[in-house]
Symmetry: C2
């Protein structure tokens, strides 16, 4: 319980810092391989065309795959490896922010470790928390993980181009998400083609 | 550290009990939605045709979806909800075994919570640990989660029917798995059609 209280305090500080710098910030959570990185890459490209500057923090258990993908877009990025932990926490973000030049940044994307359970207890201090799942994981993903969806500000159901071939009806996922979190807008996206991304960005306030 | 030592002791007891009853037991770990349940369902059907009796323990954070799928095959099953924890542990399995009639059972499948990080520290006391991922999660899944693959007895790359459409080359996943765990056999499967399942069952010693 102390760990969670300490995390909440540090998250407050992170949010104050980001808001003071005028940075819109987002915590992208979701299942392993659901398309978090690709969605962020799409948004980064769109923001660049609009003359806005993005930055990213890539959270992963091991390796720097996602970090390198972000760097290819020419944006400032920091890699955070969590080792045995399956979630980022506010303390790690506090450190990562210390390593970044935040001046002139408009939008900060934080990609959390792929996991639909552990990140729930550890808010990072961002404006909004986005939960991303994909149809290829099956039609029971939402109802099996009620807690993370109950605290989502935005819900994304990605890889809808594969819904027919995997025989999963996205309406089932939407129905379950509405039940758990009626107030969060739900977006159907194809991160490969970019379909649905502008609508999501509008709801995030970064379009 | 005490928690892990206690878990290891109880796992020993579970294994002794299962071996005394002549039950071959398997811990199915892997990413969320990778196809663990469908693979087990396929195996249960094949075992039934061979006159062998299977049983299952379904581990999930919440809900009883997987448990109900196992029950549809007419096999004894127990549902275990882990709540905030993203892994099963030997203690929960000890309890679940207590709730099952084990006499006459040939094979026990334990489906762990979908997660490529947390289950690594908690062996359950089964004969073998099987790690299942699917191509739809991307070609970086193995190298991003070295620890769980380093302790796998068998590695399964599922949904290979979708490899072309998701543009993921299964050879990359196989290469990464060989690097981390050269001794574990690797299987490419399509749990929907059953392709690759007999080979996997042979390596599990239940064919
Ligand atoms: N067809 C299709 N493929 C997608 C889509 N989104 C992502 N992918 C593919 O799915 C795989 C995983 O995408 P990533 O962006 O790496 O997913 P992630 O959630 O960041 O993965 P982790 O960080 O490892 O948890 C990659 O092979 C992507 O090309 C989509 O909407 N449609
Ligand atoms: N095309 C295809 N679909 C598959 C395959 N294996 C599983 N699926 C589908 O993928 C989805 C998830 O399968 P499950 O068996 O529920 O996966 P799981 O790993 O048990 O999921 P959790 O228990 O929720 O972690 C379902 O919609 C399945 O029909 C496969 O080999 N090919
Ligand atoms: Mg990623
Ligand atoms: Mg399952």
């Amino acid at each position: 319980a102390d760990v969670l209280a300490a995390n909440a305090r540090i998250a407050e500080e992170n949010l104050k810092l980001l808001r003071a710098k005028g940075i819109a910030s987002f915590d992208f959570m979701g299942s392993i391989g659901s398309g978090k990185t690709l969605l962020i890459e799409r948004m980064v490209d769109i923001l660049k065309k609009k003359g806005k500057k993005a930055a990213a923090i890539a959270g992963d258990v091991a390796g720097d795959d996602d970090y390198r993908r972000f760097r290819k877009h020419g944006i400032p990025a920091v890699n955070v490896n969590t080792g045995k932990e399956c979630h980022l926490d506010a303390h790690l973000i506090d450190h990562a922010l210390g390593d970044m030049k935040l001046d002139g940044i408009d939008v900060l994307f934080i990609e959390n470790v792929g996991n639909l359970v552990c990140p729930t207890d550890f808010p990072l201090g961002t404006d909004k928390r986005v939960v991303v799942i994909s149809v290829t994981e099956g039609d029971d993903m939402v109802r099996k993980h009620p807690v993370i969806f109950s605290l989502a500000d935005l819900i994304v159901i990605n890889k809808i181009d594969l819904a027919k071939i995997i025989e999963v009806d996205p309406k089932i996922l939407v129905r379950d998400a509405r039940k758990i979190r009626p107030r969060a807008p739900i977006f159907l996206t194809n991160a490969k083609s970019g379909l649905g991304v502008p609508g999501l960005m509008k709801a995030m306030g970064i379009w």
